[in-house]
């Protein structure tokens, strides 16, 4: 079943009256403040199941590697394991890396939504550290990867203000500038 939206998008229908609900960070364990790891900086909408987002990231960016620690996402007030992760190189290289999670339910306007925490991993003496601007750079990578494709539409950058500094294993810090890119996801896989 599909529904037409005023924005002109055709979306697979989700249960009615649902509302977008996404936490602003990933978590290393339970979704408590002390376990925050990376900021969420992208939202995929339309038909964005976690598996589909990973499929498109792999196809458009060549991000085929799946190594990396598991992390959790907060959605609808509940803590859930990530849907998966992709990177453009292995865990012992500097690389681009994203973890993804479908939100708990769809949204009446945005359809099926997913959130992601893309970032740059720099190979350092303690394995990986995100450079100071690595979260913003990760978001830009995803936008530049998907938006040129005719079946993805970059909507806008929304301000969530999730600018909290994250200490890295080197002792340095990294932080997002607080913006979240919204990008559409079609209803099919590659």
């Amino acid at each position: 079943m599909a529904v037409a939206l005023t924005a002109g998008h055709w979306l697979l229908a989700e249960p009615a009256t649902a509302h977008f609900s996404a936490g602003h960070y990933t978590y290393s364990g339970s979704c408590t403040e002390a376990n925050r790891v990376d900021p969420v900086t992208v939202v995929l909408y339309g038909s964005a199941t976690g598996a589909r987002v990973l499929n498109h990231v792999q196809h458009h960016g060549g991000w085929t590697h799946q190594s990396g620690s598991p992390q959790n996402f907060l959605t609808h007030g509940q803590c859930y394991a990530m849907s998966g992760q992709r990177a453009n190189d292995d865990g012992l290289s500097s690389r681009w890396h994203v973890r993804v999670r479908t939100t708990y339910h769809g949204d009446d306007t945005w359809g099926t939504t997913a959130m992601g925490s893309p970032h740059r991993d720099e190979l350092v003496w303690c394995i990986h550290a995100v450079p100071p601007n690595g979260f913003n750079a990760g978001r830009t990578q995803i936008v530049n990867m998907l938006s040129p494709s005719p079946h993805h539409t970059y909507s806008h950058n929304a301000y969530w203000g999730n600018t909290q500094s994250m200490k890295q294993c080197t002792g340095s810090t990294a932080a997002s500038n607080g913006y979240v890119a919204w990008i559409s996801m079609p209803a099919w896989d590659h």
């Binding site: 977008f20 602003h24 290393s28 403040e33 002390a34 376990n35 925050r36 790891v37 990376d38 939202v43 620690s69 992390q71 949204d107 306007t109 945005w110 303690c126 995100v130 100071p132 601007n133 913003n136 806008h156 950058n157 929304a158 301000y159 969530w160 203000g161 600018t163 909290q164 500094s165 994250m166 200490k167 890295q168 294993c169 002792g171 810090t173 990294a174 932080a175 500038n177 607080g178 913006y179 890119a181």
Partner: protein
């Protein structure tokens, strides 16, 4: 720009008003003071421009981790309440008044913003109680209000984003 500031650089900083909690607060020592300035890019009305005071420490051996308490100070032209948006709708926050100025509570009380003078002071913490307590103890780095004193009222347009600022 990403730079760790020395105390002398903090004392000499004159680009906008700074507020902090001193060298130690609630048993948490000042870990670092970080200056971050990023250009405004297409699709984003305001780039980052902040001075971040990081308090306490955390174990980052298995990935990034947040500091128990952080105070960020931004020019109000770069960070203001009207900037927020969530899925095309108003971003949820609790409006309140602290130290005599408008404030907004986000993310279950773990993020608090105070709008004072020409700056936005943002507190991140590991719990609502610590964040609220820290807000009461904010003070100017050089002169300015002391802990508990009323803060200067926000300048006109500070919450609405109608202030123009130069820079990158």
């Amino acid at each position: 720009v990403y730079a760790w500031l020395s105390q002398a650089q903090v004392d000499d900083f004159d680009e906008f008003e700074l507020y902090w909690l001193g060298q130690e607060f609630d048993g948490l020592e000042l870990y670092a003071t970080v200056r971050q300035v990023e250009p405004t890019v297409a699709g984003e009305p305001a780039g980052r421009d902040s001075v971040d005071f990081l308090y306490g420490d955390c174990d980052a051996r298995d990935g990034g981790c947040p500091f128990p308490l952080e105070v960020q100070v931004w020019p109000a032209c770069r960070r203001y309440r009207a900037l927020y948006e969530l899925g095309g709708e108003a971003y949820p926050y609790e409006e309140l008044r602290l130290r005599g100025v408008p404030a907004a509570l986000f993310d279950g009380g773990t993020r608090l913003e105070l709008y004072t003078g020409a700056v936005t002071v943002v507190l991140f913490g590991d719990g609502p109680a610590r964040v609220r307590e820290a807000a009461q103890h904010l003070r100017g780095t050089v002169g300015g209000p002391t802990a508990g004193d009323p803060l200067p009222l926000p300048v006109e347009g500070a919450l609405e984003g109608t202030i123009t600022c130069g820079g990158p």
